[in-house]
């Protein structure tokens, strides 16, 4: 009798403590959202106050509400309207994503090749470092000469910028594969391809995702830079157009759109990463 009572008491206590833990975590989350929101409001307030108190003209720094109006004027239109954000964003995004895909795949390929074959590493590493330390934005004019003012130069630029973090991270990740795991495959007489596919590539996955995370933001950057140099459509064009008529609020609004897009892309990559490599960092043995 007593035993059963103690047992149920223990179960109750467990239930209570787990409920308390859940509660605590929810409170922390709410508090964090609150802090973030308060910080945002403070920023807007300081911005608004300084514009008003210092009498900053709107062609230097527009007031927050002007940016909101400019932002809204691009949202509250039909999707196919040339005045909306939708068309330029779609153009920029599709080029950035296509370039990202190409750059990421090439980075994965060359990174793997370099990690797997010492000769390839020796042959390519100097160029990889040279190109890596070059400000790649400076290559943009060349790319435009080679690929023209159309989508080609945007995709190429996005691919170029997405390529490096992917290549470097794939290389580093594969080299970081644990020796014991590779020896296990050796003991099993596994082929080189089997070891690559079943051990080295998964070992490199956390690195590869870090590369993807960087790469996707870089691809967006590359596309915008190429658009600045000459394009018919895209967010870069939207910014240039607004700048041409000193519509600074419009420039700000475009930057806000790009910022939100970047954050969303980053969150998507993180989400995919968490579901795909749930095993990472959980117990080494």
């Amino acid at each position: 009798m007593t035993d059963i009572r103690t047992e149920s008491n223990a179960m109750e206590m467990i239930a209570i403590s787990s409920a308390a833990e859940k509660n605590r975590r929810r409170n922390v989350r709410f508090r964090n959202i609150g802090i973030g929101f308060a910080g945002f409001l403070t920023l807007i307030l300081v911005w608004k106050l300084s514009v008003n108190l210092l009498n900053v003209p709107s062609y230097i720094l527009p007031a927050p509400e002007q940016v909101v109006v400019a932002l809204w004027s691009g949202i509250a239109v039909p999707v196919s309207s040339p005045l909306g954000w939708y068309l330029p964003l779609w153009s920029t995004m599709s080029n950035a994503l296509a370039g990202f895909l190409i750059g990421a795949l090439l980075g994965l390929f060359f990174g793997s090749l370099m990690a797997e074959f010492r000769a390839v590493e020796t042959a390519l590493m100097p160029y990889a470092f040279a190109l890596q330390s070059l400000p790649k934005v400076a290559i943009a004019p060349l790319i435009v000469i080679w690929c023209g003012f159309g989508d080609g130069s945007k995709i190429a630029m996005a691919a170029l910028l997405a390529f490096f973090p992917m290549m470097v991270n794939t290389f580093a990740g594969m080299r970081a594969a644990e020796v014991e795991r590779i020896e296990l495959m050796k003991v099993l007489s596994a082929s080189r391809l089997e070891t690559y596919r079943l051990v080295k590539l998964p070992s490199a996955a956390p690195y590869i995702f870090a590369g993807l995370d960087m790469g996707i933001v870089y691809a967006l950057l590359g596309t915008i830079v190429a658009e600045f140099l000459g394009a018919q459509e895209g967010m870069g064009v939207a910014i240039t157009k607004a700048q041409a008529v000193t519509d600074v609020a419009g420039v700000f609004a475009a930057l806000v759109v790009l910022g939100i897009t970047g954050i969303l892309l980053h969150l998507i990559v993180r989400r995919v990463e968490r579901s795909l490599i749930h095993w990472a960092d959980r117990g080494k043995r």
Partner: protein, 277 residues
């Protein structure tokens, strides 16, 4: 199959008719005059194994003990096909061992399960790579082994959801997946706490008795060696040599609590300790 005349177990045949392991014995591994030299980073060469001779009978459980750097891991790596010797030969069932073999299963110091695979995928890995045969019979056998190892119901869990002891048991099942003749274990329980380790020893004994495999196990623990081994090989450090072979005449299955204060056990433990000092 060739039979070495000087097989240390040959004398045991017939003498102990009751012990099931001893009647089936014939030398499975023959290591002859093996020398292994390692170059160090500093440039000087280290003699890791100095003319080592070792015979292991079929179905025998041999434990290698010795201080760090005595070359026991080197010897195991040679048998696993991860290294090659600089002199001498080693053979398995009469065939020279020059590289990894289907007939050798290896358990590492760490469980070394692939974290991106489930327990089932991990233990089936040996049938998936290296052009191994994947028969229904082998798969059934693996499932039976998982049950013996107490991993039933955990097939679809990931390694990080398992305790250290369970991970190491899964690693043992994986090493047995191809139904090899020989099981090599390099301090398999070194990373576990003392109590878990004792339980794992009992489980390993059970798995070994059920499978009848030949086992070569490296350990730092004298108690573990006496508990598990039919024979204990004591090695000396630099250059790695075999200094003594000791037979463990204790009935199976051995029970940890009965080992405490057992005369044979105490005498063996004392002798090994003195050899290691």
């Amino acid at each position: 199959m060739t039979f070495a005349v000087d097989a240390p177990t040959a004398a045991g045949i017939g003498a102990a008719a009751g012990a099931k392991m001893q009647t089936a014995r014939s030398p499975l591994i023959a290591v002859k005059d093996v020398v292994k030299i390692y170059p160090t980073v500093a440039g000087e060469a280290v003699l890791a194994l100095d003319h080592v001779n070792l015979n292991v009978g079929e179905g025998e459980f041999v434990c290698l003990v010795g201080p760090s750097g005595c070359g026991k891991t080197t010897l195991l790596r040679l048998l696993a096909g991860l290294d090659t010797s600089d002199h001498g030969t080693s053979s398995l069932a009469g065939k020279a061992l020059n590289g990894p073999s289907e007939e050798v299963g290896v358990v590492f110091q760490q469980a070394n399960l692939l974290p991106w695979f489930t327990v089932m995928e991990n233990v089936l890995l040996p049938l998936r790579v290296g052009g191994a045969r994947k028969t229904e019979q082998l798969i059934d056998q693996i499932k039976a082994l998982l049950k013996v190892a107490g991993l039933e119901g955990f097939e679809n869990k990931y390694p990080y959801e398992l305790s250290g002891g369970m991970q190491q048991r899964a690693a043992i099942v994986r090493a047995l997946a191809r139904d090899p003749q020989l099981l090599l274990m390099d301090e398999p329980f070194g990373a576990l706490d003392a109590l878990t380790r004792e339980r794992m020893n009992a489980e390993l004994q059970r798995i070994w008795m059920a499978s009848g495999k030949t086992v070569v196990l490296i350990t730092h623990s004298i108690d573990e060696a006496i508990f598990l081994g039919d024979r204990i090989i004591v090695m000396s450090p630099r250059p790695g040599r075999i200094v003594r072979e000791l037979k463990v005449d204790l009935p199976r299955p051995r029970v940890a609590t009965e080992m405490l204060g057992n005369e044979t056990h105490t005498a063996l433990a004392r002798e090994i300790r003195m050899l290691l000092e």
